[in-house]
Amino acid sequence: MSGSALDPKTAPVFPIAARTAMKDGQLRRNVRHATDVIQAKRARVVAEMPDWQELREAGKQIRQHTMENLDFYLEEFEANCTRAGGVVHWARDAAEARQIIVGLVKASGSDEVIKIKSMTTEEIQLNSALEAAGIHPYETDLAELIIQLGHDQPSHIVVPALHKNRQQIREIFQREMNLPKLGERPEDLADAARIFLREKFLRVKTGVSGANFLIAETGGVCIVESEGNGRMCLTLPETLIAVAGIDKVVPRFADLEVLFQLLPRSATGERMNPYNSIWTGVNAADGPRAFHVVLMDNARTEILADAEGRQTLNCIRCGACQNACPVYRQTGGHAYGSVYAGPIGAILTPQLQEMHHAQSLPYASSLCGACYEVCPVKINIPEVLIHLRNKVVKQNGPLNVEAFAMKMMGMIFLSEHRFRAAQRMGRMAEAPLVRRDEKGEGWIGWLPGMLGGWTKVRDLQEMPQETFRDWWKKRGTHGS
């Protein structure tokens, strides 16, 4: 993997990227191990809850209600956050969000920032924008640090480095932290990160974070995490800048009673995240002196406008659907070409791109429904996938290869004569392309022209030498 950010505009389409990922046995073992462990933990702590289904229903309805009244809750959040001494900014898209954040960091007088893990900052490729402006971002979440030092990309929304095992992490730390004697126990690695980052926590004056929840009623912001790096970034710097999608708002403080139960159990199989932090604006005696919130649209209003796609915005980014997805478990996250991988990525990414990019993602699913079952806010991902597939076909119009091929097939199937002729022609045309495997079976790995799309991502078996009809006719004549 290169160090450049995952960008749906330039990433290879899912089927191509997945094919490469499938060849990486180590990656697949690492992903499988991690998702197995989280799934087992999740199942255990969810089974503890007799009211789990009632919580899911409440979670779904809170999110739905928020989306229906999003303008009101955002304005309410803004008013309360401002009253408490915070400064609220609005950004229509990623470029505007980057511009605001870079400007705020410069105004804080820092040329470095400490960062809390945030998929939203990944979404807008903030780190490269900061670097281009001469500002050094330090990732402080252990997984994000592994990604940053390894010039890698996140592959899971909750555990971004789950595709790396301890030996691989050790090699990265040895090289990047200059620690040739570093041990390989997980404790040794965590200790190295602690020492490496503590100096930054105590020194750097500006922090950048995402947000898990924005509380409209109080203007408060909530971040959940486990390592304490979040608390460090929220508490120690003089300036704190949080960037959040407009979908992150929740109506009232009390609604956290539902989300605090659904999120940790679904995400990491914990009964509660080791740390939850809630703060409102600035407090003279505690925490940063300047606090900014950047509310970002970046195509979320497009999704809101689509009645069937809208439920995508209910997502609380727990990652449970990724762990449950048989496709994700085989390919890992990078194949999705976006920071949002797995089932949620398959529906969110194309919509965030306003359906201009990542059009193969709605097809990156077996529609088995496992994602729907585990989703704590009951997002019907298979339903949205099918809706998006329809959109893709419609958007590409009748002239796209697939629609054209289907039309041709329809025409051929309508007449027996045409069908037989097509079969004969096919056998003749394929002859030079067929390669025999060790069992003597014929395979086609490459088709010319527009048909190449099919063989780019899968092998095609050669047509049988004798059709069923021919065999049946022969059988009739020879009486065998």
Partner: protein, 226 residues
């Protein structure tokens, strides 16, 4: 990627986003509509305790231990003696405490320094921190701290490697909804929930204690009786 300069003037972003939302949802939402809709949301999950009082306290102890915390129960008049014992077992001699911590909790054999706005680097040089707490949630093994006397600034309970926390039995609730209801009045204070010491599972999903926050946690659960 450079800083984009081609973006539209910033002032109009707010109006434009709100306008897009209203176009998407079919109109302006107001206080009345939002409040009425919120009140109708279904809340059939558990919102109250189902256990006897003693069972709630035992559950808290159990869940805290499950998260690698060390828990001791004691009576009101025994706090400083227990604190002295725990600190000596851990070899801690110089502790930071927030202003407003009850004096009777502090044993005389240990040096306690009151935080009067110490720098992060200064906090880093203490053996540990000792505080009270606002509340604890039994079901999840969670302790809640707020920026008030006796609990202090968030940085104070974060930078030192060891934390000793006193929880009073009357502040223990069983469920998350009970805790949020009690916090409603002080919802705007800086608030921290912690469940066990700092932990990560980022390396092969192995739970490792302590990355950046305190690695060691002791809880003294103080009875309401003697």
């Amino acid at each position: 990627m450079g800083v984009d300069t081609g973006a539209a003037p910033l002032g109009s972003a707010r109006a434009e986003i709100l306008q897009r939302i209203r176009a998407a949802t079919g109109g302006v939402s107001n206080t009345e509509v939002a409040r009425a809709g919120w009140t109708r949301l279904p809340r059939e999950y558990r919102r109250a305790a189902t256990r006897e009082r003693e069972a709630v306290l035992e559950l808290l102890e159990d869940r805290l231990r499950d998260y690698d915390a060390n828990v001791v129960r004691t009576g009101r008049d025994r706090v400083s003696a227990i604190v002295a014992k725990m600190l000596s077992e851990r070899g801690k001699t110089r502790m930071v405490v927030p202003p407003g911590i009850p004096n009777e909790w502090l044993p005389v054999v240990v040096e306690f320094v009151v935080d009067e706005g110490l720098s992060a680097a200064e906090l880093d040089r203490f053996d540990g921190v000792m505080t009270g707490s606002t509340m604890a949630i039994a079901q999840t093994g969670t302790v809640i701290l707020q920026s008030v006397p006796g609990q202090g600034r968030r940085a104070v309970t974060l930078v030192p490697d060891y934390q000793l926390c006193v929880v009073c039995e009357e502040d223990v609730v069983e469920t998350v909804p009970e805790a949020m209801a009690r916090l409603q009045e002080t919802a705007e204070l800086p608030t921290t929930f912690f469940s066990g010491p700092s932990a990560t599972a980022d390396i092969e999903m192995t739970r490792i204690k302590g990355v950046h926050g305190p690695r060691y946690l002791d809880v003294v659960l103080v009875g309401s009786g003697i």
